[in-house]
């Protein structure tokens, strides 16, 4: 049972999609039920994994490994080995749980859709891709799953999106396609160089990590590592929507349906950060160190720039997109610090931002469903007709601006604890983001839930019973991490420590 749990988690959604293929098109509730089961079961399994996870260990756990593709003499005398291998360690566990929670809640958040069956089919394929990305231990497999997220997203935005859906779907596809190219190039280069050490061109992450860790300097030169890292970093900048490659994100969030916005902001966008931790910091730590200043500068630019731009947005969803960019800038800053606190803060921030994005986009979706708009200026005084939603929105906004007791704060302070050690001045500039976050979020809150209630917003219904589930679950997680951060910290601590010791600092 335990042996195949990861495979089950990854492919159950896909199985769900397959079953959906046989559900009659006209039926509206059956697809949702299937999708719910196909995301709930992985959530349960992820829970089982978490319960059995040994956080004191640094290596991979629950691994499954099978030979998949083996080509002898693929490169001169070296054979190409591609494996089907899955596993979790302290780094991927939080991402796994995040994916499990957000994707399940995403199904719950989906309202009546036209062409519901197709929607859920694409959705479930997307979910399999997401799980696969975080669980793969093989670069090739990872890439395959990464591409698997791309196509469903194109259709999910392109069919069920807003009024500019076609353009935005294409933009999404092209941007992330470009990122995939960078990632592929970097992966192949990594595997090729690792083959020079091991003699076998394997795509296995662990093997490559080991190879890079113990390779003599004349086999894998530092300039080579820096080159790969630059390519990879560029891809991550796109994947993660960092300035100046960020413009797909606000558009996507603006146009995508609520549940897709949740998944994009909550999970999909975090793949880039995961690659940065797993490949960047895990395999090429000295290159990260070499470019630390560059990374930190880009991080700070993102924090401040995105916050300033968020301040003048008229649409909640665009505002939240820029807010997420600003938060992810903190991750870069933490990673650039390349010390325990910074990296841990980076992981915390990634998870926290995922949960908060999920929650915020859900709430904005719920408000849009009632009022028909997400334009901040068109709302006002929502506290009166819908005190529960307004309350949750306030909690989410406060969490997002880094209020202690919620996950955003501990992430921010950890990242800055690391960053101030390495880059005091840059970090000080970065703290501007903390102020600006308060400015734009509270401004938007003030315009949305405070003030007099306009006539047409009077009497709108408050949260339904089913809507409590996403809100309560996400808020509970956010507060849990904020109040008792060890629940996340203990998971990642050892893995991050092993990274830090590899840098020797």
């Amino acid at each position: 049972m335990m042996g195949n749990l990861l495979t089950l988690i990854v492919f159950l959604p896909l199985l769900g999609a397959l079953i959906l293929g046989f559900v009659p098109r006209s039926n509206d509730s059956q697809p949702k039920a299937v999708a719910m089961i196909a995301t709930l079961l992985p959530l349960l399994f992820a829970g089982i994994l978490y319960a059995n996870f040994d956080s004191g260990q640094t290596g991979m756990q629950f691994t499954e490994s099978h030979d998949w593709i083996h080509i002898a003499h693929a490169f001169q005398d070296k054979s190409l080995v591609i494996g089907y291998s899955l596993g979790v360690d302290g780094l991927s566990m939080p991402f796994l749980l995040l994916t499990a929670v957000v994707t399940f809640l995403g199904v719950l958040a989906t309202k009546h859709m036209h062409r519901a069956k197709e929607f859920y089919i694409w959705y479930l394929i997307l979910v399999t891709g997401l799980y696969g990305c975080f669980l793969s231990l093989d670069l090739f497999l990872f890439f395959l799953f990464l591409e698997m997220t791309l196509v469903p997203m194109y259709f999910l935005i392109g069919i069920w999106g807003g009024d500019r859906k076609g353009q935005v779907a294409t933009k999404f596809l092209i941007y992330r396609g470009l990122a995939s190219v960078g990632i592929l190039v970097a992966f192949v280069a990594l595997a090729y160089k690792a083959a020079m050490v091991t003699g076998v061109m394997t795509m296995d992450m662990i093997a490559i990590t080991d190879a890079f860790a113990k390779a003599p300097a004349d086999v894998i030169t530092s300039s080579f590592k820096q080159g790969i890292f630059l390519v990879l970093f560029l891809a991550i900048l796109i994947e993660e929507a960092f300035f100046p490659f960020h413009t797909w994100l606000p558009d996507t969030h603006e146009q995508a349906p609520t549940s897709i916005s949740m998944v994009v902001g909550g999970v999909l966008m975090k793949i880039g950060a995961y690659v940065l931790f797993r490949i960047g910091v895990g395999i090429l730590p000295d290159a990260v160190q070499y470019f630390a200043t560059l990374i930190a500068v880009i991080g700070v630019i993102n924090i401040v720039y995105a916050a300033l731009v968020a301040m003048v947005q008229r649409d909640w969803r665009r505002l939240l997109a820029f807010s997420a960019i600003s938060h992810m800038g903190v991750v870069l800053l933490g990673v650039a610090a390349m010390n325990q606190a910074g990296l841990q803060g980076g992981v915390f921030m990634t998870i926290s931002s995922g949960l908060l994005s999920g929650l915020l986009f859900f709430l904005i979706g719920a408000i849009k469903e009632r009022t028909g708009t997400t334009i901040i200026g068109a709302l006002g005084g929502l506290s009166k007709p819908m005190p529960i939603l307004a309350g949750f929105l306030l909690v989410a906004a406060l969490g997002s601006l880094g209020l202690p007791g919620m996950s955003g704060f501990i992430s921010e302070i950890l990242a800055f604890m690391g960053a101030f050690k390495a880059f005091p001045v840059l970090s000080a500039v970065g703290t501007l983001g903390i102020i600006l976050a308060a400015v734009y979020l509270l401004w938007a809150m003030q315009r949305t839930t405070y003030g007099p209630t306009t006539a047409q917003l009077e009497g709108l219904p408050d949260a339904r019973a089913v809507e409590y589930v996403p809100m309560v679950v996400l808020v509970a997680l956010i507060i849990l991490i904020g109040v008792y951060p060890s629940i996340l910290g203990d998971l990642v601590n050892h893995t991050i420590s092993s990274y830090v010791t590899r840098i020797g600092g």
Binding site: K171, I174, F243, P244, H246, T247, Y305, L308, V309, M311, V312, Q313, N339, Q340, A341, Q344, G381, S383, K384, P387, L398, L403, P404, G405, F409, I410, I413, L414, F416, M417, F420, K421, P424, S427, A428, T431, L432, I434, I435, A438, V439, L442, W443, M445, Q446, T449, Y450, G451, P452, T453, Y484, P485, S486, G489, D490, N493, I496, S497, V500
Partner: protein, 634 residues
């Protein structure tokens, strides 16, 4: 007893959770009972702890593991020192009374229960702040009290002014908070710990794990950064602008948060982390100057304000300035003592003002009050006591504490600060009695009907007033020569002195009293006996000054023009760049490709044979290229 100190914040937290579960439609009586009982229980435990500390001195912090970062551990916990035992008692005492008072003040409000939830959350956060044994925990609760302040100022969310004030309160304090944030993070980076004890040791040894700055400069930098946090929370110039606006919140909130407890947190922080500040004379000078400026600045604005709560708010800012100034001149005991006495008499003044406002249907403009003494005698008496205490008339509380501060300023050799303090004392006496005379004496200037119906509120509102009045009278004696400076001995915990302590100078006490009496006298002449016409002064020779004071020295306007507008403009410019330059380049690629394709599509003429031919020739060219590449035809 000390090991049970964690119970104190737990009570309001439990009360908060209970009320939260009960929901917003819980009965007012039940809500009040739960809250008041919780606060009262906290107060009783606080008293026990106070006596314990008085007998046994400070205890070591009780900490538990919170988060592991590599080899380092961040911990949470609690500690009890004389200073925070005093704070705990004051906070729980005033909280109890304010919770009681609110029953009358908020009676009938649709979100009555929510109000109590927020108040309980605030009390929890404030108590948590006070018993924190490390800077991280302080920062956590520091932000939480800010959150509660935000929620409570914006409690009447449907009022646009309240919403704006709440936002402003949060953002302005947050600017300060970021200073504190950077400060504590730098401390952590330099010393590897957030615990007070560890930090103090490192600062004493001046050994820091930081190489980009000399230790001395580092201490000054950190001290000033932390002080910026205190400035935000304690509304020190130039971050004071949020506090008067925060008066949009319900009056009990103003009394509890914006007079007695939260705003004092800045002073408390500086006092608690005093070894850090003491290590840097430069930082102390800055603190003293900021405190002095704030004291006089706010007092000058207070002279002309017409909103009863705003006058009291400016007096709060001014008094906080005193406390900060005291810390700046190392008068540690005087500052903390003033913190305590001020909490009593300022809460009293606010609640009395609240009682007035409640009686005349939520009108706050003193120009439309007058003659209320007859209708509200008890409120009048208590307000008078508060005013006397604030003015520093012996034997009321304010006299003893303010005198200590002036003494500290004088003895520190900083005559400017001393003179500033003295002028501020004069102004304080003048404006608080201006309010008193305009409110309680003369003829009522508002609607007759309102006046007819005005009456003293029920006992839930008067009991707190009376209790606070008693404290406003007697609290000062705790640190008087009459009790042999009992407070000082207590606050030093029987150990060595913190900061500087001087013997009472009776001539100075006399001088301060005379100055205060002069202020009251002038006020009497202008607003009671009317022998000096204030209107004539305001429109005559003092007009420029009057306008400046009335418009709060145009600080808000200055901020709007110099900071808010430019930042928003930068935002707009960046948004424009984002949309048309960054995204524009992206679209340029898209459009360029599209236009290029428009031309290229004509090459697709649908003729299979043409395609075939092109493929053939292409293949030939490729073969040629390959041959060339491998070295040509051999």
């Amino acid at each position: 007893m000390v090991q049970n100190a964690w119970l104190i914040p737990l009570f309001p937290l439990v009360a908060y959770l209970l009320l939260f579960v009960l929901g917003r439609r819980a009965q007012e009586g039940i809500v009040t009972a739960i809250s008041v009982l919780a606060a009262l229980a906290g107060f009783i435990v606080s008293l026990l702890i106070l006596s314990d500390v008085h007998a046994n001195g400070a205890s070591a912090p009780y900490v538990f593991h919170w988060l592991t970062v590599g080899q380092n551990t961040l911990s949470m916990g609690f500690e009890v020192t004389p200073l925070n035992a005093m704070m705990l008692t004051v906070v729980t005492f005033i909280s109890t009374l304010v919770l009681l008072f609110s029953k009358g003040y908020l009676h009938g409000d649709a979100r009555y229960s929510v109000f109590y939830q927020y108040l309980n959350l605030f009390i929890f956060s404030m108590l948590g702040l006070v018993i924190s044994p490390n800077l991280l925990q302080v920062y956590i609760f520091w932000e939480l009290v800010g959150l509660c302040s935000f929620l409570l100022v914006g409690f009447w969310y449907f009022k646009p002014e309240a919403a704006a004030a709440a936002k402003k309160a949060f953002i302005v304090t947050r600017i300060g908070d970021v200073g504190l944030f950077i400060g504590i993070v730098l401390i952590y980076v330099a010393t590897g710990t957030f615990e007070y004890s560890g930090v103090f040791e490192a600062f004493e040894a001046k050994k820091f794990a930081i190489d980009w700055i000399t230790p001395d400069h580092f201490i000054t930098l950190v001290a000033i950064l932390m002080f910026i946090g205190a400035m935000g929370k304690s509304a020190q110039f130039p971050l004071h602008t949020w506090l008067p606006d925060a008066m949009e919140g319900p009056t009990p909130v103003s009394a509890l948060i914006h007079a007695a407890t939260m705003v004092a947190a800045g002073v408390y922080l500086v006092a608690r982390a005093f070894p850090i500040f003491e290590a840097s004379p430069d930082a102390l000078t800055v603190i003293g100057i900021i405190g002095g400026i704030t004291a006089i600045f706010a007092a000058l604005i207070g002279l002309t304000q017409n909103d009863i709560k705003r006058v009291v708010a400016y007096s709060t800012v001014s008094q906080l300035g005193y406390m900060v100034m005291a810390l700046g001149v190392s008068a540690y005991a005087a500052s903390t003592f003033h913190l305590m006495t001020h909490a009593f008499f300022k809460a009293l003044l606010f609640l009395a003002a609240g009682s007035v406002i409640h009686a005349i249907h939520h009108n706050q403009d003193i120009r439309f009050m007058g003659g209320l003494w007859k209708k509200l005698p008890l409120t009048g008496w208590t307000f008078l006591i508060g005013a006397l205490a604030l003015s520093g008339i012996p034997p009321f509380a304010g006299f003893w504490s303010k005198d200590e501060i002036l003494l500290g300023a004088l003895k520190s050799g900083n005559t400017t600060l001393f003179v500033l303090g003295l002028i501020a004392a004069f102004c304080t006496a003048f404006y608080i009695f201006r309010v008193f005379f305009m409110t309680f004496t003369g003829e009522f200037r508002g609607e007759k009907e309102v006046y007819e119906h005005a009456h003293e509120s029920g006992s839930v509102m008067t009991i707190p007033l009376v209790l606070l009045s008693i404290m406003a009278i007697v609290a000062g004696l705790l640190n008087s020569p009459l009790t042999d400076h009992a407070f000082e001995h207590f606050i030093f915990g029987g150990g060595e002195e913190i900061g500087k302590v001087y013997d009472t100078e009776w001539w100075l006490a006399g001088l301060a009293t005379v100055v205060a009496l002069a202020g009251i006298g002038l006020s009497y002449l202008m607003y009671k006996s009317k022998s000096i016409n204030p209107e004539a002064l305001a429109n005559g020779p003092l007009r420029p000054f009057y306008q400046l004071s009335l418009n709060k020295f145009y600080v808000d306007e200055l901020y709007h023009v110099a900071i808010v507008k430019p930042v928003v403009w930068i935002g707009h410019i960046l948004n424009f760049i984002d949309k048309w330059v960054v995204d524009g380049i992206v679209h340029l690629f898209g459009e360029g490709t599209y236009i290029g394709s428009l031309g290229l599509k004509y090459s697709q003429n649908g003729q299979v044979q043409t395609y075939g031919l092109v493929t053939l020739i292409g293949a030939l060219l490729l073969i040629g290229a390959a041959m060339y590449a491998v070295g040509g035809v051999k």
